[in-house]
Amino acid sequence: MMLADARTLCPAIRVAPSDPAGDLDFLEKTALWAQRWGPWSALDPPDGVLVDVSAVAHLFGGEERLLTDMQAAFAARDLTVRLAIAPTAGAAWALSHFGPERAILAPDDDAEMRLSGLPVAALRLDDDVLTVLRRLGLKRLGELGTVGRDALHRRFRNRRSPAANPLIRMDQLLGRVPEPLVPVVPQQAPLVQRRLLEPIRHRELLDQVLADLAEDMARELEAQAKGARRLELGLWRVDGEVAVRALELSAATRDPAHICRLFAAKLDGIDAGFGIETVRLRASWAEPLALEQADVEAAAERHGTSLSALVDRLSVRLGARAISRPMPFASHIPERAQRWQPVMAPEPASQEELRFHARPLKLLDRAEPITVLYATPDGYPQRFRWRGQVHDVARVEGPERIAPEWWREKSTVRLRDYYRIEDGEGRRYWIYRHGLIGDGRGGLPEWFLQGLCA
C-alpha cells in the first residue's frame, strides 16, 4: 500500500522511515545488554535475541522469576517482549513466537508432545516451504510425525539450508542435531584521552601530552594483547573546532616512541587557535600482538629498527605510495607484468617468468619515442636517435613479438616487436617497433625505447 493510500484511510497514522541498519544496531545493543541474564547471547535478526541461561536461573530464584525479571526490565525500556525458555534454541524460538506467554520447557518434559500443537511456521522455515507443507495438509508440528520420515526426506532434498528442510529443523528443535550459533562479542576500540586544565597553544606541550597518551595507549593495548594498525588523534579546540590526524601502520605495534615519532610529522600544520582543551587517541583498528620479552626487544632496538618501523617512517614523510615492492602480474605486456604493491602485502601466487625471456634491468615509466633507421618492413634497426643523441646499433637480437591482449584491449591496438640491442659503446637497450606496415591499424610503425639493460 502506498503511503498516500494509507493516509487516506487513516489520517492520524504515524510515519517513521525504515532504518534496517539502525534496527540491527539496536538489536546488537539489546543482545549485549541481555548478557546480564546469561554468559553469552546471539542475534536472531530481524527481531530476536537468544540468551544462554544454562545453569543461571538459580541466581535469579528460578526460571519463572528469571522470566518475570526479564519482562520487567524490558518493560522499563518500553519494549514489548515474548519470552520462553527451552533446552534448544529452536524450541525456545518456537515457544516464544507461537507458544503461551512466558512458556518454560523443562529438559525432562516430553518436548515432542508439548510442541506438537504449534503451527509448522514455528520451525523457522522459508515461505515457499511453508506453502508446500500447507498444500500437503501438514499444519501442526505433530502432523509431521504422522507422514513418515522417509516420505519427508524424499520430498525435501535440500540438505544445505536448514530453513528449506523441515526434517533438519525438527531435529534441531528436539536437539537431535547441533545448531551452531554465533555469539555477539563486544568490540571496543582502545581509547585514551586527556582533558586539559588549561588550553595549550604550544607545540612542546602538545608533544608532551601526545607522549603521555601514547604511553597510556601502549598500556591499554598491552592489556588486550593487541597492537594498533590505525590510530586517530583528535584535537578539540576551545572554539569548537576539531582537528583529526590519522595514521596507518604497516604492522601492529604499541611502541610509544614509534607512535610519537610518526605523529610528530603530522602535527606540524596544526592550528591551535585559542588553545586545545581535549586530546584523544583512539586505535580504530587493532590486531592481536603477543606480549614480547622486553630485554630481547631492547637488544634488537639497539641493533636497528624493524622493517615495519622503516616503512611507517618513510610513508609518513614521503607519502604512503612512495614505498612499495614490485610484484609479478599475469600479463604479456611488459609494463603490466609488474605491479607496485605495499611492502607488507603477501607475495601473490604467480607463474614463474620464462627463463629464456631476457628482460631489461630497468624500465622507463613511459616508453620514449625514438627515430630509427631500419630496413623496411621488418628489418633490424641500424641506427637510432634517443634524447638528442645518435646510437649506432652494433649487435641486435630479436624480434620478440608480443601481441596485444585481445581479450582486454581494443582491436586497433598494434603488436610490438621487441629487440635487444647493443650500441657501439656497449650500451644495451630494449626497444620495440609498434606495429607493422600494412597491418591496417595505423600508418607507418613507430619505434620506442622502453628498457635499459644492465
Binding site: 634488537a300 641493533h303 636497528g304 629498527t305 624493524s306 622493517l307 618501523a309 622503516l310 617512517r313 618513510l314 614523510r317 614521503l318 612512495a322 614505498i323 612499495s324 615492492r325 614490485p326 610484484m327 609479478p328 611488459p334 607484468a337 609488474q338 607496485w340 611492502v343 607475495e347 617468468e353 625471456h357 631476457a358 628482460r359 631489461p360 634491468l361 630497468k362 624500465l363 622507463l364 615509466d365 634517443w386 634524447r387 643523441q389 652494433a394 649487435r395 641486435v396 637480437e397 635487444r420 640491442i421 647493443e422 659503446e425 656497449g426 650500451r427 644495451r428 637497450y429 628498457g451 635499459l452 639493460c453 644492465a454
Partner: protein
C-alpha cells in the same frame, strides 16, 4: 656485526708505514668481504643514458652479500630486504627497477622507495641504513644536488658503518664532488662478450669500472662482469700492476680527480 676494518687509523707511527703501504697496495678484487674488508659506503658514477651504474652497484652489493654468507656459517637463506631508493629525477632519467629483469636473488627482496626531492632521498637512505632487516641500500641520485654536501655524505658513511649496512649510491650524470664515500667508482659500459650460439646478439653484460678513489685500495681499472654466481674482474693493464715493490708515501692522494677529505 660491526665491520672489522683492517686498515689503521691516522695518525700513523713511522714504523707502521711499511705495513700500511703493504695493506694499501693490495689491489681491489671481488669477494673481499669474505676477508672482513668492507667498504660500507661506496659511490658509483655513471651516465644517465644507461643502466650500468645501478647494474654495477647491484652486482657489487650481491658479491659482498654472497662472500659474507660464505664467510659466516651459511644460514638457510638471506631474507632481508634490499632497499632501492630513487629520487624523482633519477627515476625519470633511468626508469625504475623491473622485477623480471632483476637477478633471481633480488626479485622477491626488493623494496623500492621513490623520493620526490634529494632531501627525502637522503632521509630514506639514512632510515634504511638504520634498519636491521635491510641487507643493503642502493640509492640513485641524479646530478649534484645541494643537499648532498660533504656533511650529508659523512653522515651517511657514519650511519652505514655504525649499523653495518652497506650503502651504494649511484650518481647519474654527476660531477666528482667532495664526498666521504670509502670507495668511489666511475663506470662505463663495455662491449659484451659474444654469446656462444648467436654471435650477433648482445651477450652477458660487462662494465668498464674505474676505482678512482678508495680508502684502502690503490685505484685501478677493471672490466667487470657478473654471471649470476661470481663476479669476475679483469684488471686493465693501464698502470703497473705490481705496486708492492715500490711503496708509495702514505697520505698522498692517488688520483688527481675525486679528492676526498675522508680518505
Amino acid at each position: 656485526m660491526p665491520p672489522t676494518s683492517s686498515y689503521p687509523t691516522a695518525p700513523v707511527a713511522a714504523a707502521d708505514v711499511a705495513a700500511l703501504s703493504a695493506v694499501r697496495s693490495k689491489g681491489w678484487k671481488p669477494g673481499l668481504a669474505a676477508q672482513g674488508r668492507f667498504a660500507r659506503h661506496s659511490e658509483v658514477f655513471s651516465s644517465g643514458r644507461d643502466a650500468v651504474g645501478s647494474a654495477l652497484a647491484l652486482s657489487l652489493a650481491l658479491d659482498e652479500l654472497r662472500s659474507q654468507a660464505a664467510g659466516e656459517v651459511a644460514e638457510a637463506e638471506d631474507r632481508r630486504a634490499i632497499l632501492w631508493v630513487q629520487d624523482r629525477a633519477a627515476a625519470r632519467l633511468g626508469g625504475r627497477p623491473y622485477r623480471p629483469g632483476l637477478p633471481q636473488a633480488v626479485q622477491h627482496r626488493l623494496v623500492h622507495v621513490l623520493a620526490e626531492k634529494p632531501q627525502d632521498l637522503l632521509f630514506a637512505l639514512e632510515e634504511g641504513l638504520r634498519c636491521r632487516e635491510v641487507a643493503c641500500v642502493i640509492g640513485e641520485l641524479a646530478g649534484n644536488p645541494k643537499a648532498l654536501d660533504f656533511t650529508a655524505s659523512r653522515r651517511l658513511s657514519l650511519t652505514a658503518e655504525k649499523h653495518g649496512v652497506p650503502l651504494w649510491l649511484v650518481r647519474l650524470d654527476a660531477a666528482r664532488d667532495l664526498s666521504s664515500a670509502r670507495m668511489r667508482w666511475e663506470v662505463r659500459p663495455a662491449p659484451s662478450r659474444p654469446p656462444q650460439w648467436n654471435t650477433q646478439a648482445p651477450g652477458a653484460p660487462r662494465w668498464q669500472a674505474e676505482l678512482f678513489r678508495a680508502r684502502s685500495h690503490p685505484p685501478g681499472k677493471w672490466t667487470i662482469s657478473d654471471d649470476g654466481d661470481v663476479l669476475t674482474a679483469d684488471r686493465l693493464a693501464s698502470r703497473p700492476v705490481d705496486r708492492s715493490a715500490a711503496p708509495h708515501p702514505v697520505g698522498l692522494a692517488f688520483a688527481a680527480g675525486g679528492r676526498s677529505l675522508a680518505g
